[in-house]
Symmetry: C2
Subunit: 287 residues, 2 copies
């Protein structure tokens, strides 16, 4: 696509653009991203176009949600390509602030969400969801959209964002958008770029294991047993380690033993230098 996309880099410019649209009675959708865009992000943009008249995407690799030994510095950055992809998908504006614009000197505020942020990625990545909650609140209050779209691939993140938007009365609708997958089932992720060809061939085992556990739960199996088997299978396939593999209540993310309510199976595992996550819905009574 050869369309060009307007880029703003300050919250003042962002607000001016959104206000101009709102004053015309147009609805605005917002898609926050960390860039390195793939089909999953573009699906968010397209879903935004279904829900609103204008779509704003942001690209900001947020330092405060990375731990000291995580991949902040090597996280892929490709703004020109991202802008072209967004334009091609029909996005109307890109907001790409600097770290200094987001966190000026003296910045001192942290938002913590209890409950849904505990366990899973919250245990493995201490402080991660505080960083996410704080930056997402900032982005939502900077952009002031009618609706904000997030991928279901980051299911726990989506639960944290739903909780904080409700708890803080942020005036925005939150929409979750289903995970986009490769043909072999691997969830699309910017971190898939870290995989070699042989690692890439191993990666789909995550999705296979999620489906296997879903099937087992629907047949009355015990979550802990199914997850223990799944964990072994992931390690046998060649992953270095499994951060977690658990079945939880779909909304509150409370632990569960059997499929007695709508559930979500969630996994995070390390394959060479990449930490991959995925999750799958499983509903009772749909055997």
């Amino acid at each position: 696509m050869s369309e060009s996309l307007d880029i703003v880099r300050t919250k003042a410019d962002l607000r001016a653009r959104v206000r101009y649209w709102r004053d015309q009675g147009l609805n605005v959708a917002f898609v926050p991203t960390m860039g390195a865009l793939h089909e999953g992000h573009l699906t968010l943009v397209r879903a935004g176009l279904e829900m609103a008249d204008r779509v704003v995407a942001s690209v900001f690799v947020n330092p405060t949600q990375f731990g000291p030994n995580e991949d902040f510095s090597r996280y892929p950055r490709q703004e020109e390509l991202d802008a072209a992809l967004l334009a091609g998908a029909g996005c109307h504006l890109l907001y790409a602030p600097s770290v200094e614009e987001m966190y000026p000197p003296g910045f001192a505020t942290t938002i913590s969400v209890g409950g849904v942020s505990e366990g899973l990625c919250g245990d493995v990545r201490p402080g991660h969801f505080d960083g996410v909650a704080t930056v997402v609140t900032k982005l939502l209050l900077q952009a002031q959209p009618h609706v904000a779209l997030f991928g279901e691939k980051d299911w726990q993140q989506l639960a944290v964002i739903r909780r904080l938007v409700r708890d803080l009365d942020v005036p925005v609708d939150v929409a979750g958008v289903p995970t986009v997958r490769e043909a072999d089932g691997l969830a699309k992720s910017s971190r898939n770029a870290y995989l070699s060809a042989s690692e890439r061939a191993i990666a789909p085992v995550l999705y296979q294991v999620l489906n296997h556990i879903a099937e087992g739960l629907r047949q009355g199996g015990v979550a802990a047993d199914l997850c223990a088997q799944g964990r072994a299978r992931i390690l046998e396939a060649g992953f270095i380690s499994v951060d977690y593999l658990e079945a939880r209540g779909a909304d509150g993310l409370e632990p569960l033993e059997r499929l007695d309510r709508p559930a979500r199976i969630l996994v995070a595992a390390r394959l060479a230098g990449a930490r991959l996550i995925d999750n799958l819905a499983v509903e009772p009574g749909h055997a």
Copy 2:
């Protein structure tokens, strides 16, 4: 005054009223309070009328900013009288939500502001400023006013709110309004109602001490020495204890030794069952 005042009790009703005004191009000021209104609060309302076309006040005794041994349950509540006082001052709407409206089941989010919330009341009342930061953010995002007014009597609270509004990009202007005092200098406070007549006669020593320290700082005195003297004088006057008496930088609330920048002297002390606070500005070069 015999005017009546509209009262709304849900954020949905509040937002509908504010939206109606905003859609007409009217500017809205917001005055959050814990009720038990006195001249200080009414001064905030009158200042709001100077800045905006409509003034909304809220009355909500926020449980999360009280410690377990503090005065939440006995904090004075007098909604009818408050509504009459607000109407008399020209306020257009009272928002008086229930605890359940503000904190529905599952509520799990906390906002923490570092730096300015440390020391002073932050040390004496652990968790207090988290409670303040969280409820004020909620109220601001519920009401969505153009400007919000806060009393300078709670100077550290005002610094915390300024910081969080800046840090989270809450789209509102924050205005501080000077402390209103009794004829003898005592800062107006809902907690003055806890004082007996003889305690009330002692209370103005706080303001006298603040002025004495300000004078000493302007003459080149050392803050720690002046505050030690002031502390002794407050105790001699009959206060039970002094939680703190300190000179700080006016905006960042950093400790200071001498008057080398705009400063604020802050005090909290206990007189019988009442904890009273006050503060005073002192500027270099105005001897």
